[in-house]
Amino acid sequence: MPEILVDKLTHTFGKGGPNPLTVLEDINLKFESGSFCSIVGTSGCGKSTLLKMMAGLFEPSDGQMTLDGDIIRGTDRRRGMVFQQDAVFPWMTVSRNISYGPRLRGASREEQAEIETKWVDMVGLKGFEDRWPRELSGGMRKRVDIGRVYANDPDVLLMDEPFGALDAQTKERMQADLLETWRQSKKTVIFVTHDLEEAIFLSDKIIVMSARPGRIRHIEEVSLPRPRTDEMRLTDEFIQIKRKLWAMLEH
């Protein structure tokens, strides 16, 4: 199973140009295979940038990242990503969006249909299979996004604030579903969020970043037992972690 290592990574936008902007500096991280890690940090500290580099969308200006020892270069279906923005293809119906990845690899009609049924159901969009994305709400589109990446079955899941646009109930259900999917498949998940409670509830490890330039400020190991239940959100341990991280983000 995949393990990601980030080694002395620094990234400067517009390097060598008139106004370079260093967004990440000296990042060293280890994402154990099959673990669930969250990244939290103030807006603009470089979380999306880091995630996109792990996806292979662009290369860091310094340092490197490896997946199972191989340097990450370019995109690969093994590293799936849910983007912070809406990335649902508006020219495909919901179910065609869901089966996009398998279709790229020449999945048969039956295989596609099977995948569509499974994941449309999983993200709670039953009955909307043949709708155009423009006919869905923002939160529903986000679920299409998520279902599409799940259906593509990557080894590493990079998720950039995937549940940000959802209401509390849907969010908690999606969190539980995500944990269940993750438990069954043992994918390595790297999850960016602004929501501390979400981070604590989901993660084995929480990476707290500081801003300008983004650095690793603290790494919190969450030792709450698994499987996680909603009651745990009210335990002392949970609240203590939350308080600690909160204080860190404040300053």
Binding site: A55, M81, D86
Partner: protein, 258 residues
Amino acid sequence: MEILAKVTTGRFGLGALSVAVVFILYIIVTNQPDNNPALLPPLTDIFNSFVTNVTSGTLFTALAASLFRIFMGFFIGTTLALILGCLIGWYKVIEYLFDPLIEALRPIPPLAYIPIIIIWFGIGEFSRVLIITIACFMVCVVNVIAGMKNVPQVYVDAAATMGASRFQVFRTVAVPAATPFIITGYRIALAAAWTTLVASELLAAQNGLGFLLQEGRRYFLTDQVMMIIVIIGACAFIMDRIFRKIQARLMQWSEARE
């Protein structure tokens, strides 16, 4: 009354209204005692000219010749524009190769090519289709390129992270994402086809709608000139309507409405 209000405020009603107003104004003007029918022929004359040209078969022959040129020029021009535009808009190497050329040729009105085309190829059918082809190509290719350049990055990134190859991204993301621009390009090309058709036929043709216009001018048949103008307008209008239908079908997914 209510029905009347609905009909007249609806899209169709308002459109018909504006056409009707023009007709009525025209009738009023041509009925003035001091109107010169050689300059503004009454509607009846225009209609008679229509009947004469239809019964003699002239109009049909001219229309067929013109439509053939339009379709050939439009089809070849837009097909080339689609293929080349997609490649130029997507692949940097091809862009660097062709962009200066297209940018340099873009401001030249297609009609400016007429003299050189006549010198090279004479005044035959080929030349006329070629002019229309050039016109359609130039207006269309610019839109196709713009469409390919405006593909939102996040769609490209999403496809890539799902394992799409560069060519798969091109085929399954860039081209569909660019369809609104591409269709607009096609519609502008159709309009350009009509413009250049008439111009090319005015200059060098033995048949076609433009030829009938020219003939009307030469023999002072103002009613025939008017009639052809209406025919051209009607044809272009009908084609644009058909096009909008196709557009609406292809663009079901889009928020933008016509």
